[in-house]
Symmetry: C2
Subunit: 221 residues, 2 copies
DNA sequence: GAGTGTGAACGTCTTCACAGCA
DNA sequence: TGCTGTGAAGACGTTCACACTC
Protein backbone atom coordinates (compact mmCIF):
# COMPACT_ATOMS: atom_id res chain seq x y z
CA UNK A 1 0.00 0.00 0.00
CA UNK A 2 0.92 3.64 -0.13
CA UNK A 3 2.13 4.70 3.28
CA UNK A 4 2.96 2.17 5.98
CA UNK A 5 4.25 5.13 8.00
CA UNK A 6 0.89 5.99 9.50
CA UNK A 7 1.76 6.23 13.18
CA UNK A 8 -1.43 7.64 14.70
CA UNK A 9 -4.52 6.69 12.74
CA UNK A 10 -6.70 8.66 15.08
CA UNK A 11 -9.65 8.16 12.79
CA UNK A 12 -10.07 4.62 11.36
CA UNK A 13 -9.75 4.34 7.61
CA UNK A 14 -13.18 2.74 7.33
CA UNK A 15 -14.68 5.75 9.08
CA UNK A 16 -12.92 8.22 6.78
CA UNK A 17 -14.32 6.42 3.75
CA UNK A 18 -17.84 6.94 5.11
CA UNK A 19 -17.47 10.60 6.04
CA UNK A 20 -18.00 11.81 2.45
CA UNK A 21 -21.29 9.92 2.34
CA UNK A 22 -22.38 11.40 5.64
CA UNK A 23 -21.45 14.84 4.36
CA UNK A 24 -23.62 14.42 1.28
CA UNK A 25 -26.63 13.42 3.37
CA UNK A 26 -26.01 16.22 5.84
CA UNK A 27 -25.91 18.79 3.06
CA UNK A 28 -29.25 17.49 1.83
CA UNK A 29 -30.70 17.72 5.32
CA UNK A 30 -29.38 21.25 5.71
CA UNK A 31 -30.98 22.30 2.43
CA UNK A 32 -34.23 20.68 3.51
CA UNK A 33 -34.14 22.87 6.59
CA UNK A 34 -33.58 20.20 9.22
CA UNK A 35 -32.11 21.70 12.35
CA UNK A 36 -31.18 18.45 14.04
CA UNK A 37 -30.99 14.82 13.06
CA UNK A 38 -30.94 11.62 15.09
CA UNK A 39 -28.37 8.92 14.45
CA UNK A 40 -31.03 6.43 13.38
CA UNK A 41 -32.43 8.77 10.75
CA UNK A 42 -29.06 9.75 9.33
CA UNK A 43 -27.96 6.13 9.40
CA UNK A 44 -30.85 4.93 7.26
CA UNK A 45 -30.33 7.88 4.92
CA UNK A 46 -26.82 6.72 4.16
CA UNK A 47 -27.35 2.99 4.47
CA UNK A 48 -25.35 2.05 7.57
CA UNK A 49 -26.24 0.91 11.07
CA UNK A 50 -26.93 3.56 13.69
CA UNK A 51 -24.23 2.19 15.98
CA UNK A 52 -21.66 2.47 13.20
CA UNK A 53 -22.70 6.04 12.53
CA UNK A 54 -22.46 7.06 16.18
CA UNK A 55 -19.07 5.43 16.59
CA UNK A 56 -17.82 7.11 13.42
CA UNK A 57 -18.94 10.54 14.60
CA UNK A 58 -17.58 9.93 18.08
CA UNK A 59 -14.12 9.64 16.50
CA UNK A 60 -14.39 13.28 15.49
CA UNK A 61 -15.54 14.39 18.93
CA UNK A 62 -18.72 14.65 20.93
CA UNK A 63 -20.83 16.75 18.64
CA UNK A 64 -24.22 15.32 19.52
CA UNK A 65 -26.68 16.11 22.27
CA UNK A 66 -27.96 13.16 24.27
CA UNK A 67 -31.67 12.77 24.05
CA UNK A 68 -31.83 15.09 21.04
CA UNK A 69 -29.47 14.25 18.22
CA UNK A 70 -26.94 16.17 16.14
CA UNK A 71 -27.10 19.78 15.01
CA UNK A 72 -27.00 19.45 11.24
CA UNK A 73 -25.15 22.67 10.49
CA UNK A 74 -22.59 22.12 13.18
CA UNK A 75 -22.00 18.57 12.02
CA UNK A 76 -21.52 19.70 8.43
CA UNK A 77 -18.87 22.10 9.64
CA UNK A 78 -17.08 19.47 11.72
CA UNK A 79 -17.08 16.77 9.07
CA UNK A 80 -15.97 19.28 6.44
CA UNK A 81 -13.14 20.40 8.66
CA UNK A 82 -12.06 16.82 9.29
CA UNK A 83 -12.06 16.10 5.56
CA UNK A 84 -10.05 19.22 4.88
CA UNK A 85 -12.68 20.91 2.74
CA UNK A 86 -13.73 23.62 5.17
CA UNK A 87 -11.52 26.00 3.29
CA UNK A 88 -11.59 25.55 -0.44
CA UNK A 89 -9.63 22.50 -1.51
CA UNK A 90 -8.44 22.67 -5.11
CA UNK A 91 -7.46 19.91 -7.51
CA UNK A 92 -6.00 19.72 -11.00
CA UNK A 93 -7.64 17.37 -13.48
CA UNK A 94 -5.62 15.83 -16.30
CA UNK A 95 -7.32 14.15 -19.24
CA UNK A 96 -10.41 15.85 -20.60
CA UNK A 97 -12.10 12.92 -22.30
CA UNK A 98 -15.59 11.81 -21.39
CA UNK A 99 -14.58 10.79 -17.89
CA UNK A 100 -12.65 14.02 -17.36
CA UNK A 101 -15.66 16.06 -18.43
CA UNK A 102 -17.89 14.02 -16.15
CA UNK A 103 -15.58 14.74 -13.22
CA UNK A 104 -15.19 18.41 -14.15
CA UNK A 105 -18.94 18.84 -14.11
CA UNK A 106 -19.66 16.58 -11.17
CA UNK A 107 -22.04 18.33 -8.79
CA UNK A 108 -20.79 16.31 -5.86
CA UNK A 109 -17.43 18.08 -5.87
CA UNK A 110 -18.41 21.72 -5.65
CA UNK A 111 -21.28 20.96 -3.30
CA UNK A 112 -18.86 19.51 -0.80
CA UNK A 113 -16.16 22.15 -0.95
CA UNK A 114 -13.96 20.59 -3.60
CA UNK A 115 -13.00 22.84 -6.50
CA UNK A 116 -11.59 21.67 -9.80
CA UNK A 117 -9.18 24.55 -10.36
CA UNK A 118 -7.45 23.54 -13.60
CA UNK A 119 -8.04 21.28 -16.60
CA UNK A 120 -5.18 19.85 -18.63
CA UNK A 121 -4.93 17.70 -21.74
CA UNK A 122 -2.30 16.81 -24.29
CA UNK A 123 -4.64 17.08 -27.28
CA UNK A 124 -3.94 20.39 -29.09
CA UNK A 125 -7.48 20.50 -30.46
CA UNK A 126 -8.83 20.48 -26.90
CA UNK A 127 -6.44 23.09 -25.52
CA UNK A 128 -8.12 26.47 -25.40
CA UNK A 129 -11.63 25.04 -25.36
CA UNK A 130 -13.90 25.85 -22.47
CA UNK A 131 -15.18 22.96 -20.35
CA UNK A 132 -17.34 23.56 -17.32
CA UNK A 133 -16.32 27.19 -17.03
CA UNK A 134 -12.60 26.52 -17.28
CA UNK A 135 -10.25 26.77 -20.24
CA UNK A 136 -8.35 23.58 -21.02
CA UNK A 137 -4.58 24.11 -20.93
CA UNK A 138 -1.82 21.95 -22.30
CA UNK A 139 -0.37 19.37 -19.95
CA UNK A 140 3.11 20.83 -20.47
CA UNK A 141 1.93 23.95 -18.69
CA UNK A 142 1.54 21.91 -15.52
CA UNK A 143 4.45 23.52 -13.66
CA UNK A 144 3.14 26.96 -14.50
CA UNK A 145 -0.39 26.03 -13.46
CA UNK A 146 0.72 24.71 -10.11
CA UNK A 147 3.34 27.28 -9.16
CA UNK A 148 1.81 29.85 -6.94
CA UNK A 149 -1.38 27.87 -6.48
CA UNK A 150 -2.47 25.89 -3.46
CA UNK A 151 -3.25 22.82 -5.55
CA UNK A 152 -1.67 19.65 -4.22
CA UNK A 153 -4.06 16.99 -5.44
CA UNK A 154 -3.96 15.69 -9.00
CA UNK A 155 -6.68 13.64 -10.68
CA UNK A 156 -5.77 11.45 -13.65
CA UNK A 157 -8.49 10.63 -16.19
CA UNK A 158 -6.28 9.91 -19.18
CA UNK A 159 -6.05 6.70 -21.21
CA UNK A 160 -4.08 3.96 -19.48
CA UNK A 161 -1.03 4.44 -21.67
CA UNK A 162 -0.49 8.04 -20.66
CA UNK A 163 -1.26 7.74 -16.97
CA UNK A 164 2.18 6.97 -15.54
CA UNK A 165 3.87 9.76 -17.45
CA UNK A 166 1.21 12.24 -16.38
CA UNK A 167 1.56 11.01 -12.82
CA UNK A 168 5.32 11.58 -12.93
CA UNK A 169 4.75 15.09 -14.23
CA UNK A 170 2.25 15.79 -11.46
CA UNK A 171 4.67 14.58 -8.81
CA UNK A 172 7.53 16.57 -10.34
CA UNK A 173 5.34 19.66 -10.24
CA UNK A 174 4.81 19.21 -6.51
CA UNK A 175 1.52 17.37 -6.19
CA UNK A 176 1.43 15.25 -3.04
CA UNK A 177 -1.77 13.27 -3.64
CA UNK A 178 -2.85 11.49 -6.81
CA UNK A 179 -6.22 9.99 -7.69
CA UNK A 180 -6.01 7.65 -10.66
CA UNK A 181 -9.02 6.64 -12.74
CA UNK A 182 -6.95 5.03 -15.50
CA UNK A 183 -6.92 1.22 -15.37
CA UNK A 184 -3.23 0.83 -14.55
CA UNK A 185 -1.37 0.54 -11.27
CA UNK A 186 0.78 3.65 -10.92
CA UNK A 187 3.95 3.98 -8.91
CA UNK A 188 4.72 7.08 -6.91
CA UNK A 189 7.42 8.11 -4.41
CA UNK A 190 6.79 7.30 -0.77
CA UNK A 191 5.84 10.83 0.17
CA UNK A 192 2.97 10.88 -2.31
CA UNK A 193 -0.46 9.46 -1.51
CA UNK A 194 -2.00 7.43 -4.29
CA UNK A 195 -5.49 6.04 -4.70
CA UNK A 196 -6.67 3.92 -7.59
CA UNK A 197 -10.27 3.83 -8.81
CA UNK A 198 -11.28 1.18 -11.32
CA UNK A 199 -14.75 1.89 -12.66
CA UNK A 200 -15.25 -1.73 -13.67
CA UNK A 201 -14.57 -3.25 -10.25
CA UNK A 202 -18.04 -2.68 -8.85
CA UNK A 203 -19.65 -3.91 -12.03
CA UNK A 204 -17.64 -7.12 -11.90
CA UNK A 205 -18.55 -7.58 -8.27
CA UNK A 206 -22.20 -7.36 -9.27
CA UNK A 207 -21.53 -9.81 -12.05
CA UNK A 208 -20.09 -12.19 -9.48
CA UNK A 209 -23.21 -12.04 -7.32
CA UNK A 210 -25.40 -12.36 -10.40
CA UNK A 211 -23.47 -15.45 -11.39
CA UNK A 212 -23.92 -16.91 -7.93
CA UNK A 213 -27.63 -16.23 -7.99
CA UNK A 214 -27.90 -18.04 -11.32
CA UNK A 215 -25.90 -20.98 -10.00
CA UNK A 216 -28.09 -21.31 -6.95
CA UNK A 217 -31.25 -21.08 -9.01
CA UNK A 218 -30.00 -23.85 -11.23
CA UNK A 219 -28.94 -26.00 -8.29
CA UNK A 220 -32.38 -25.84 -6.70
CA UNK A 221 -34.16 -26.54 -9.97
CA UNK B 1 -33.75 -25.09 3.50
CA UNK B 2 -30.53 -25.33 1.56
CA UNK B 3 -29.65 -28.77 0.30
CA UNK B 4 -26.73 -30.17 2.28
CA UNK B 5 -25.30 -31.62 -0.91
CA UNK B 6 -24.34 -28.19 -2.23
CA UNK B 7 -21.27 -27.03 -0.33
CA UNK B 8 -21.24 -23.35 -1.22
CA UNK B 9 -17.59 -22.33 -1.22
CA UNK B 10 -18.00 -18.94 0.31
CA UNK B 11 -15.58 -16.41 -1.11
CA UNK B 12 -14.92 -13.44 1.22
CA UNK B 13 -16.26 -10.11 -0.01
CA UNK B 14 -12.82 -8.56 0.25
CA UNK B 15 -11.45 -11.23 -2.07
CA UNK B 16 -14.21 -10.70 -4.62
CA UNK B 17 -13.42 -6.99 -4.73
CA UNK B 18 -9.82 -7.81 -5.63
CA UNK B 19 -10.55 -10.40 -8.31
CA UNK B 20 -11.30 -7.77 -10.99
CA UNK B 21 -7.90 -6.21 -10.35
CA UNK B 22 -6.20 -9.57 -10.61
CA UNK B 23 -8.06 -10.23 -13.83
CA UNK B 24 -6.83 -6.99 -15.36
CA UNK B 25 -3.23 -7.81 -14.52
CA UNK B 26 -3.61 -11.38 -15.76
CA UNK B 27 -4.96 -10.19 -19.09
CA UNK B 28 -1.95 -7.93 -19.46
CA UNK B 29 0.38 -10.79 -18.64
CA UNK B 30 -1.38 -13.03 -21.15
CA UNK B 31 -1.02 -10.40 -23.87
CA UNK B 32 2.64 -10.01 -22.99
CA UNK B 33 3.03 -13.73 -23.58
CA UNK B 34 3.76 -14.84 -20.04
CA UNK B 35 3.01 -18.52 -19.62
CA UNK B 36 3.19 -18.63 -15.86
CA UNK B 37 3.39 -16.09 -13.05
CA UNK B 38 4.52 -16.35 -9.45
CA UNK B 39 2.41 -14.99 -6.63
CA UNK B 40 5.05 -12.44 -5.71
CA UNK B 41 5.18 -11.01 -9.23
CA UNK B 42 1.42 -10.83 -9.64
CA UNK B 43 1.07 -9.38 -6.17
CA UNK B 44 3.39 -6.46 -6.85
CA UNK B 45 1.69 -5.92 -10.20
CA UNK B 46 -1.63 -5.33 -8.46
CA UNK B 47 -0.35 -3.75 -5.27
CA UNK B 48 -1.17 -6.34 -2.61
CA UNK B 49 0.89 -8.68 -0.45
CA UNK B 50 1.79 -12.07 -1.88
CA UNK B 51 0.17 -13.86 1.04
CA UNK B 52 -3.10 -12.04 0.40
CA UNK B 53 -2.95 -12.96 -3.25
CA UNK B 54 -2.32 -16.64 -2.58
CA UNK B 55 -5.08 -16.81 0.00
CA UNK B 56 -7.48 -15.10 -2.38
CA UNK B 57 -6.72 -17.52 -5.18
CA UNK B 58 -6.90 -20.48 -2.83
CA UNK B 59 -10.54 -19.60 -2.20
CA UNK B 60 -11.23 -20.38 -5.84
CA UNK B 61 -9.37 -23.67 -5.73
CA UNK B 62 -5.83 -24.96 -6.07
CA UNK B 63 -4.90 -23.61 -9.44
CA UNK B 64 -1.18 -23.10 -8.83
CA UNK B 65 1.77 -25.45 -9.11
CA UNK B 66 4.12 -25.56 -6.13
CA UNK B 67 7.61 -24.53 -7.00
CA UNK B 68 6.45 -23.00 -10.27
CA UNK B 69 3.56 -20.57 -9.99
CA UNK B 70 0.26 -20.11 -11.76
CA UNK B 71 -0.58 -20.81 -15.40
CA UNK B 72 -1.72 -17.40 -16.64
CA UNK B 73 -4.25 -18.58 -19.20
CA UNK B 74 -5.79 -21.11 -16.85
CA UNK B 75 -6.02 -18.54 -14.09
CA UNK B 76 -7.70 -16.03 -16.40
CA UNK B 77 -10.31 -18.66 -17.21
CA UNK B 78 -10.90 -19.55 -13.56
CA UNK B 79 -11.17 -15.98 -12.31
CA UNK B 80 -13.42 -15.07 -15.25
CA UNK B 81 -15.64 -18.02 -14.48
CA UNK B 82 -15.84 -17.08 -10.83
CA UNK B 83 -16.78 -13.50 -11.72
CA UNK B 84 -19.41 -14.74 -14.14
CA UNK B 85 -17.84 -13.21 -17.22
CA UNK B 86 -16.64 -16.39 -18.87
CA UNK B 87 -19.67 -16.25 -21.10
CA UNK B 88 -20.56 -12.80 -22.26
CA UNK B 89 -22.18 -10.77 -19.49
CA UNK B 90 -24.37 -7.93 -20.75
CA UNK B 91 -25.50 -4.75 -19.06
CA UNK B 92 -27.82 -1.89 -19.88
CA UNK B 93 -26.58 1.64 -19.31
CA UNK B 94 -29.02 4.44 -18.54
CA UNK B 95 -27.94 8.08 -18.76
CA UNK B 96 -25.74 9.02 -21.68
CA UNK B 97 -24.12 12.14 -20.31
CA UNK B 98 -20.39 12.48 -20.00
CA UNK B 99 -20.16 9.74 -17.41
CA UNK B 100 -22.38 7.44 -19.42
CA UNK B 101 -20.23 7.96 -22.50
CA UNK B 102 -17.11 7.32 -20.46
CA UNK B 103 -18.57 4.04 -19.22
CA UNK B 104 -19.85 3.06 -22.67
CA UNK B 105 -16.41 3.49 -24.11
CA UNK B 106 -14.48 2.12 -21.16
CA UNK B 107 -11.87 -0.35 -22.39
CA UNK B 108 -11.83 -2.17 -19.09
CA UNK B 109 -15.30 -3.59 -19.67
CA UNK B 110 -14.97 -5.31 -23.01
CA UNK B 111 -11.46 -6.48 -22.21
CA UNK B 112 -12.79 -8.37 -19.23
CA UNK B 113 -15.82 -9.94 -20.82
CA UNK B 114 -18.39 -7.33 -19.92
CA UNK B 115 -20.51 -6.01 -22.78
CA UNK B 116 -22.59 -2.85 -22.69
CA UNK B 117 -25.51 -4.11 -24.72
CA UNK B 118 -27.88 -1.14 -24.66
CA UNK B 119 -27.78 2.61 -24.10
CA UNK B 120 -30.81 4.53 -22.85
CA UNK B 121 -31.55 8.18 -22.18
CA UNK B 122 -34.60 10.35 -21.69
CA UNK B 123 -33.31 13.24 -23.80
CA UNK B 124 -35.08 13.16 -27.21
CA UNK B 125 -32.15 14.91 -28.87
CA UNK B 126 -29.86 12.06 -27.80
CA UNK B 127 -32.17 9.24 -28.81
CA UNK B 128 -31.15 7.86 -32.17
CA UNK B 129 -27.59 9.11 -31.93
CA UNK B 130 -24.77 6.62 -32.10
CA UNK B 131 -22.44 6.34 -29.10
CA UNK B 132 -19.64 3.82 -29.02
CA UNK B 133 -21.15 1.70 -31.77
CA UNK B 134 -24.62 1.58 -30.22
CA UNK B 135 -27.72 3.62 -30.95
CA UNK B 136 -29.18 5.43 -27.97
CA UNK B 137 -32.78 4.46 -27.31
CA UNK B 138 -35.41 6.14 -25.22
CA UNK B 139 -35.64 5.06 -21.61
CA UNK B 140 -39.32 4.23 -22.10
CA UNK B 141 -38.26 1.41 -24.40
CA UNK B 142 -36.63 -0.30 -21.45
CA UNK B 143 -39.11 -3.19 -21.26
CA UNK B 144 -38.72 -3.85 -24.99
CA UNK B 145 -34.95 -3.69 -24.76
CA UNK B 146 -34.79 -6.17 -21.90
CA UNK B 147 -37.44 -8.64 -23.02
CA UNK B 148 -35.82 -11.52 -24.77
CA UNK B 149 -32.32 -10.43 -23.80
CA UNK B 150 -30.08 -11.93 -21.16
CA UNK B 151 -29.41 -8.56 -19.58
CA UNK B 152 -29.96 -8.50 -15.84
CA UNK B 153 -27.58 -5.78 -14.70
CA UNK B 154 -28.46 -2.11 -14.99
CA UNK B 155 -26.02 0.78 -14.67
CA UNK B 156 -27.33 4.22 -13.72
CA UNK B 157 -25.36 7.27 -14.82
CA UNK B 158 -28.17 9.80 -14.76
CA UNK B 159 -28.41 13.01 -12.74
CA UNK B 160 -29.27 12.43 -9.10
CA UNK B 161 -32.86 13.58 -9.51
CA UNK B 162 -33.72 10.94 -12.07
CA UNK B 163 -31.89 8.00 -10.55
CA UNK B 164 -34.58 6.51 -8.31
CA UNK B 165 -37.22 6.59 -11.02
CA UNK B 166 -34.85 4.97 -13.51
CA UNK B 167 -33.95 2.40 -10.89
CA UNK B 168 -37.61 1.55 -10.34
CA UNK B 169 -38.08 1.14 -14.09
CA UNK B 170 -35.06 -1.14 -14.29
CA UNK B 171 -36.35 -3.30 -11.47
CA UNK B 172 -39.83 -3.41 -12.99
CA UNK B 173 -38.30 -4.55 -16.26
CA UNK B 174 -36.65 -7.48 -14.51
CA UNK B 175 -33.14 -6.30 -13.74
CA UNK B 176 -31.76 -8.04 -10.64
CA UNK B 177 -28.57 -6.02 -10.09
CA UNK B 178 -28.15 -2.26 -10.14
CA UNK B 179 -24.97 -0.22 -10.16
CA UNK B 180 -25.60 3.42 -9.28
CA UNK B 181 -23.18 6.24 -10.11
CA UNK B 182 -25.64 8.99 -9.23
CA UNK B 183 -24.96 10.64 -5.88
CA UNK B 184 -28.12 9.45 -4.14
CA UNK B 185 -28.89 6.42 -2.03
CA UNK B 186 -31.36 4.31 -3.94
CA UNK B 187 -33.82 1.84 -2.50
CA UNK B 188 -34.54 -1.48 -4.16
CA UNK B 189 -36.54 -4.61 -3.26
CA UNK B 190 -34.75 -7.27 -1.28
CA UNK B 191 -34.20 -9.55 -4.23
CA UNK B 192 -32.23 -6.90 -6.12
CA UNK B 193 -28.52 -6.33 -5.56
CA UNK B 194 -27.51 -2.70 -5.36
CA UNK B 195 -24.09 -1.09 -5.30
CA UNK B 196 -23.43 2.62 -5.00
CA UNK B 197 -20.37 4.35 -6.44
CA UNK B 198 -19.67 7.92 -5.43
CA UNK B 199 -16.93 9.38 -7.58
CA UNK B 200 -16.12 12.02 -5.00
CA UNK B 201 -15.49 9.65 -2.10
CA UNK B 202 -11.93 8.78 -3.01
CA UNK B 203 -11.12 12.40 -3.72
CA UNK B 204 -12.40 13.43 -0.31
CA UNK B 205 -10.42 10.65 1.33
CA UNK B 206 -7.31 12.05 -0.32
CA UNK B 207 -8.30 15.50 0.84
CA UNK B 208 -8.50 14.15 4.38
CA UNK B 209 -4.99 12.75 4.24
CA UNK B 210 -3.73 15.95 2.64
CA UNK B 211 -5.30 17.90 5.47
CA UNK B 212 -3.62 15.63 8.01
CA UNK B 213 -0.26 16.04 6.31
CA UNK B 214 -0.65 19.80 6.45
CA UNK B 215 -1.65 19.67 10.14
CA UNK B 216 1.36 17.56 11.03
CA UNK B 217 3.73 19.79 9.08
CA UNK B 218 2.39 22.80 10.93
CA UNK B 219 2.58 21.05 14.28
CA UNK B 220 6.26 20.20 13.82
CA UNK B 221 7.14 23.67 12.54
C1' DG C 1 15.42 -25.23 -4.09
C1' DA C 2 11.43 -22.72 -5.13
C1' DG C 3 6.96 -21.36 -4.46
C1' DT C 4 2.11 -22.68 -3.37
C1' DG C 5 -1.43 -23.69 0.15
C1' DT C 6 -2.90 -22.99 4.84
C1' DG C 7 -3.52 -23.14 9.98
C1' DA C 8 -2.63 -19.77 13.54
C1' DA C 9 -1.61 -15.17 15.31
C1' DC C 10 -2.67 -10.61 14.85
C1' DG C 11 -5.12 -6.43 13.91
C1' DT C 12 -9.19 -4.03 12.31
C1' DC C 13 -14.10 -3.22 11.83
C1' DT C 14 -18.80 -4.04 13.29
C1' DT C 15 -22.33 -4.99 16.48
C1' DC C 16 -24.21 -5.22 20.92
C1' DA C 17 -25.73 -3.55 25.19
C1' DC C 18 -25.90 -0.27 28.42
C1' DA C 19 -23.98 3.65 31.08
C1' DG C 20 -24.36 8.64 31.07
C1' DC C 21 -26.41 12.97 30.12
C1' DA C 22 -29.90 16.43 28.47
C1' DT D 1 -37.78 9.37 28.78
C1' DG D 2 -34.80 9.43 24.63
C1' DC D 3 -30.73 9.36 22.41
C1' DT D 4 -25.74 9.79 22.41
C1' DG D 5 -21.21 7.90 23.60
C1' DT D 6 -18.50 3.81 24.48
C1' DG D 7 -16.36 -0.45 26.56
C1' DA D 8 -16.77 -5.35 25.47
C1' DA D 9 -17.63 -9.11 22.36
C1' DG D 10 -17.77 -11.03 18.11
C1' DA D 11 -17.01 -11.20 13.07
C1' DC D 12 -13.99 -10.34 9.55
C1' DG D 13 -9.67 -9.61 7.11
C1' DT D 14 -4.64 -9.64 6.92
C1' DT D 15 -0.09 -11.27 7.87
C1' DC D 16 3.06 -14.67 9.34
C1' DA D 17 5.45 -18.88 9.18
C1' DC D 18 5.99 -23.22 7.68
C1' DA D 19 4.42 -27.76 5.92
C1' DC D 20 3.94 -29.68 1.57
C1' DT D 21 4.57 -30.43 -3.40
C1' DC D 22 6.86 -30.19 -7.77
Amino acid sequence: MASPGTPSPRVPEATIARLPVYLRALHELAEAGSGTVRSAALATAVGVGSATLRKDLSHLGSYGTRGVGYDVEHLVAQVSRELGVSQRCSVVLVGIGNLGRALAGYDGFAARGLAVAALLDSDPTLVGQQVGGLVVRHVDELPAVLSGSDINIGVIATPAGAAQQVCDQLVAAGVTSVLNFAPVLLTVPDHVDLREVDLSVELLVLSFHEHRKASRAQASA
